[in-house]
Amino acid sequence: GTLDDVKAKGFVQCGVSQGVPGFSNADDKGNWTGIDVDACRAVAAAIFGDAQKVKFTPLSAKERFTALQSGEIDILSRNTTWTYTRDVSLGLDFTATNFYDGQGFMVRKDLGVESAMDLDGATVCTEQGTTTELNMADFFRKHNMSYVPVVVQKADEAVSAYDSGRCDVYTTDKSGLAAHRTKLKNPGNNIILPETISKEPLGPVVRHGDNQWKDLVTWVMYVQVNAEEMGISSENVAKIKAEAKDPGIRRLLGAEGNMGQDLGLNADWAYNVIAEVGNYGEEFERNLGKDTALNLPRAINNLWNNGGIMYAPPVR
């Protein structure tokens, strides 16, 4: 299966976006950061105990599924929306959601638009090969509004087209809007409209038919959520592993038992994930939170017991 291949070649091949700040973005030295990037690093940490054993393949939206299907990449972690068709007929399997999102619109302030309902007749830029393209179509049809679609091959170019005035509106997931807004000539001149026109659960995707690999990726994500819930973070994990009495926590961190065996991993896989990448909350704050240019609120991405909907099954 994929795990054996990955172990054999010594790294995880991870498909990411070609540059969405906060999600997956390379700096000018080629170092990748972002929450989608961290998802892959966590998998690498679980397998190899080394979060750096990942290689990234930047993919445009339209290439991503083919790349995954063909085996070009092992995980697709590229703010990909979990939908019925994709899960069922594309030969893909969605694992867990690492970001709950919804599609929104960004417009220039000087247009004086306040609501998406005012967009009748607008020219709309978006990236090719996304659910956005379909949602946008549905939205305008539902409200009987006309629009001119400009569907550009790559996200960056769609944003350029918007920025150069080709379009009135740029639409994508709201997190993406926030991310892309940082790349505009004059971020302050653009506003994100309040409406959210769709549900966009984003998360890593793997190929259909390899359950072991799917379980692994899913549970790496769940472990991070559970860790936040239990108050385990990269800072205290070593200490907790050494001192914890709670058998549940000891099992989780590999201090006793061999929970990794069934996944084909070492006992301390979860420990490595948390030690190297951190828990979900850390990941969020590091990449999207208050101290970043995106400055996104946790909102629904908070833990279930904190007013959000992040709810991971228990590790037992």
Partner: protein, 392 residues
């Protein structure tokens, strides 16, 4: 008498020339078949393992995505098959217009480079050398992103009469036929019949009296004039939907979107430079003696070009021109990079992405380009054959 030596015994099976080539071919065929089979069986296994659906049934399912430019009716609820058709037409249209424009640019620039006017020749050279030596994709990006950025927003459109130019494209009035437009069509058909009559008459008259009549110019005049007369008689049954600046965009009128314009301009200026060189070489290939002979017969230079030089130059021009046309058609696929919804963008882009059926969509694309290439080269071969000289 003749002492035939014993035929040497090395007449082994392998030494026979015929057998050797047979064996080689069998091996080659086996390798080709084996590689083909190997790839195909891997493909099948992979598709099966990963649960990827196959077949062309997706073509009947609703596509759900919009397409910016469609010349046949298309909505989001149309099928993928329809989307394919739309993309196909877009590819055809851009190729066809590109071929026409590139040919015009090429001929003009080719002639300009041969011009006796030093400055004109130099300018044409600069144009040709610039266009030919810069990658097409870069030129497309330039026309799309750099030029687009420099154009005004709709509110501040450049206006010429009822035409508008802005970041959203080039807007022109949209003619809408009113009652009585049928009469105009009748008039148009009549005028064409009349024009043909004039041409036939002019030819007859030449055979009879030797006098030339400017038949082509006058028939153009007849077509325009008669059609206009009918148009007036019907009470000008045509209204124009003028482009109006509205809140976001321009409403009404007809629009050429920037994507279309950028692809068209890039394709035709790029290919035009290559065609210019072909035209130049073609004209230079006609022996100067031909021109001298024509001149010494008293033919004016324009007639010399039209009757003597061009027909001969065409024979040299056609074959390389064919491959430029093919290149242009193939290069139209780069339109995908700047949001022109042609085949590669719609099929290998969006459709592939929504359905995940890589093999089928790539196959469709290759099929289309293959048959496009084939038909252009068949046409050109036919034309070439028609034009070729009869030799001893």
């Amino acid at each position: 008498m003749s002492n035939i030596k014993n035929i040497p015994s090395n007449k082994s099976f392998l030494n026979d020339a015929g057998n050797r080539s047979l064996i080689f071919q069998i091996v080659l065929l086996a390798v080709v078949v084996f590689v083909g089979y190997y790839l195909f069986s891997n493909l099948q296994a992979n598709l099966e393992n990963r649960g990827i659906s196959t077949g062309f049934s997706f073509l009947n399912e609703p596509a759900g995505f919009p397409i910016l430019i469609h010349l046949v009716s298309y909505t989001e609820s149309s099928t993928y098959g329809r989307a394919f058709l739309v993309a196909l037409i877009n590819t055809f249209v851009i190729s066809l217009l590109g071929i026409i424009l590139a040919t015009i640019i090429g001929v003009v620039m080719g002639l300009a480079r041969l011009s006796k006017n030093w400055l004109v020749a130099r300018l044409a050279t600069v144009y040709i050398e610039t266009m030919r030596n810069i990658p097409l994709l870069l030129q497309m990006f330039f026309w799309y992103f750099a030029v687009l950025a420099a154009l005004p927003v709709p509110r501040n459109s450049y206006e010429f009469a009822d035409f508008l130019l802005n970041k959203r494209g080039i807007y022109s009035p949209n003619p809408i036929a009113q009652d009585g437009f049928g009469l105009v069509i009748i008039g148009f058909i009549l005028s064409i019949a009349l024009a043909i009559g004039v041409i036939v008459w002019a030819k007859k008259r030449q055979t009879r009296t030797g006098l030339w009549f400017p038949a082509y110019w006058s028939s153009l005049g007849i077509i325009l004039g008669v059609t206009f007369l009918f148009f007036a008689a019907a009470g000008f049954p045509l209204e124009f939907d003028l482009p109006q600046k509205s809140r976001f965009n321009v409403t009404g009128g007809m629009v050429l979107p920037p994507e279309f314009v950028a692809v068209l301009v890039a394709l035709s200026t790029y290919t035009g430079a290559f065609i210019a060189e072909i035209v130049r070489a073609g004209i230079l290939s006609v022996n100067w003696g031909q021109t001298e002979a024509a001149r010494s017969l008293g033919l004016r230079d324009s007639l010399t070009q039209r009757l003597i030089v061009l027909p001969q130059a065409l024979r040299v021009i056609i074959p390389p021109l064919t491959s430029q046309y093919l290149n242009l058609a193939k290069n139209s696929s780069l339109g995908a990079a700047i949001a022109y919804p042609e085949l590669v963008a719609v099929i290998m882009g969006t459709t592939l992405n929504q359905t995940g059926q890589a093999i089928e969509t790539i196959g469709l694309c290759m099929l289309v380009y293959g048959s496009l290439s084939l038909s252009i080269s068949l046409f050109m071969n036919w034309y070439n054959k028609k034009m070729s000289l009869i030799e001893r």
